[in-house]
Symmetry: C2
Subunit: 388 residues, 2 copies
């Protein structure tokens, strides 16, 4: 079992109190470093992003903006309006601009939809990303459909459809791959769910981790964006923070029927992008960037597969199957999840996600993100060392 | 009178259609340049910001971030949560962090308050910034209090208070200095308005241009922030885009009673900052930055005073008094405002704000921002040339 020494216990208490004050999301790496000067963070495995993609973005940013002395343009002037940026994205993802709303990160979209869709009853798959229930009006009825660890957190499609039909919610949320467990629903099955649940007013599909998923060994990109043409009750939500490694610039979007986009834009969302995110959406439309990104996307998936495979070989933990860029692990040796997380952080500078506040998880769970290959190797030996 | 030749007429039609498609706000300088390749913009006098402040920001940004190779931190990781950034701003503006909500620009705050203050009846001073009425629910009753050009657009305080008392709105908005006319209400008078209207549930004071205002020749900074301690019905809104010349990074805030901030944060606004805006709020707290900023603030005010003074000397226009960084001018020679604006843009590359869509303005009005001194001089001679 993992033991904290006196020094570690003291720091551990400080980390706990920091976490408590940051609500249901762990404090950012900045906040942790600022507040606890004794810590040095070597690997941020709490944070779900592709670090190689960050590097490509930075390379282009350096060449286009820094070297060309264009930073002033991004800083000084208002970004373009939502519909203008949507137009640039429309060509890239081959979806009409009238169906696209650009968000200041997807959190802004989730927050807005929570209020705008007049949700009265929601079926939510547990475990989940807490913002899907936290921002809802207090009188919203939330019905939990809990994934079982005994079934490897895989969604039982027919069972789920039956559950939704019995409870008759106006809204369901499907995060694919799901956070925090990483299980993926094949598109054909997801389409079958939507076909079967046409009576549900809002089917929200969150594809924020979809670039890490795959359906065969070619690792070709998958996406349910085309559902927007088939189902008028589907909303697709897509964060760019994870796959492109750019959480700091706040870029995301959602796909909605044209009439809903018009309603939302009449209430604001005019200049909710910033100079950096506008630059990103422009960059994303360029074929040379796309090609380089596709290379690091598949490279990263391969490394993640290998990392998760190695985690499975550690006896004291169980690493659940994942097609996202993180794996959920369960501690089997009687250690508490906070002991695992704080020990790794204090001793090795590895920041992982304690899932003790995630509802629907029965046991001691930690979410570990795949980072760079050498970081994953470092994390692997650190975890093995914990159990020596 | 201003005449457009055949070439200018054709371009003018294109600019008009571009403006039409961008709604009630003029298209950004980017959108204009992208869409009309024949145009080159030399001076963006549509845009209301202090260009000298932009330069200070960029100097620090270059030294702190670019030179120190810290750009990755801003791009890759999530920004800190709202309350963490509020804490950093709290020290700078000497207001408790519990009263501060950080916005993704003030437009996000205006948009949010428009929906969540449950505004039923609003008294709005005309002319105004259109977002204050555009985002309101359709059934909101909006009562206009129109400033007269015959009174130089100055607010008649007692008359206004009487008007509000008769109409009994739940919300009033005071932009100080007002946009688009630039007239300023002395703090003592503003305080008198708040004292007299304690029965109004929401008094929104927008201070987005307050750094350009002054009450005596020392040009010392003024602010009504302290009202937050005196009146529980006051909301102060503050954009950083204008005074700091950083519209592209989207930074703004509002001051509200603690209980309202808590309610709003429970609905979201978690990560609505970005890496650049978080950096700005940190920079804003540093005394060396504050000192340099204060120097360019007063320098810019002096140049603006001189620019507006020179505009007053042109016979064919009337430049109204302003304590903001822009002046409202009225065309007296029978020219249409779009002819003035398009001619200046096509012939001289100067982008100014056609006010034909501003309700409450009776006549042909254009808003001209003060930019750098040499740009102001260029704009002055260009306008004089229009009338040769």
């Amino acid at each position: 079992m993992i033991q904290l020494n006196t020094y570690e216990k003291k720091l551990s208490e400080q980390i706990s109190s920091l976490k408590k004050s940051s609500g249901s999301h762990p404090p950012s790496i900045y906040t942790v470093i600022k507040s606890l000067e004794n810590l040095s963070i070597k690997v941020d495995s709490c944070f779900l992003s592709n670090p190689y993609a960050t590097e490509i973005f930075l390379k282009y940013f350096n060449d286009d903006i820094i070297e060309n002395n264009k930073i002033r343009d991004l800083v000084e002037f208002y970004p373009s309006q939502n519909s203008v940026i949507a137009e640039s994205l429309a060509k890239t993802i081959d979806i009409p601009k009238e169906n696209i709303l650009i968000g200041n990160g997807t959190i802004e979209i989730i927050q807005y939809l929570s209020l705008f869709l007049s949700i009265k009853k929601m079926v939510l798959i547990l475990p989940t990303f807490s913002s899907y229930y936290e921002f809802l009006p207090k009188d919203t009825s939330i019905i939990h459909y809990t994934l079982n660890k005994e079934e490897d957190f895989q969604l039982n499609i027919d069972n789920y459809i039956k559950f939704v039909k019995i409870h008759q919610p106006d809204t369901i949320v499907l995060i694919n791959p799901n956070n925090p467990n990483g299980r993926y629903i094949d598109l054909i099955k997801l389409e079958y769910i939507c076909e079967s649940l046409k009576e549900v007013s809002n089917i929200i599909i969150d594809e924020s981790f979809i670039h890490f998923a795959y359906e065969d060994e070619t690792l070709s990109p998958v996406s349910s964006s085309y559902f927007i043409h088939k189902f008028c009750n589907v909303t697709i939500i897509k964060s760019m923070s994870k796959d492109f490694g750019i959480a700091g610039i706040r870029a995301g979007y959602c796909l909605l029927p044209k009439i809903k986009i018009e309603q939302i834009l009449s209430k604001g969302f005019l200049w909710n992008s910033n100079g950096l995110s506008e630059y990103f959406f422009d960059l994303y439309s360029r074929s040379n960037f796309q090609k380089e990104y596709e290379e690091v996307r598949t490279q990263y998936i391969k490394q993640s597969i290998s990392f998760f495979h190695s985690l499975k070989s550690i006896d004291q933990i169980k690493a659940y199957s994942s097609k996202a860029n993180f794996a959920l692990i369960e501690l089997l040796d009687g250690s508490k999840s906070f002991e695992f997380v704080h020990k790794l952080l204090i001793k090795n500078g590895i920041y992982t996600r304690d899932c003790e506040d995630k509802i629907g998880l029965n046991g001691e769970f930690v979410r570990i993100a795949s980072r760079k290959d050498e970081e994953n190797q470092y994390t692997l030996s650190a975890i093995k060392n914990l159990y020596k």
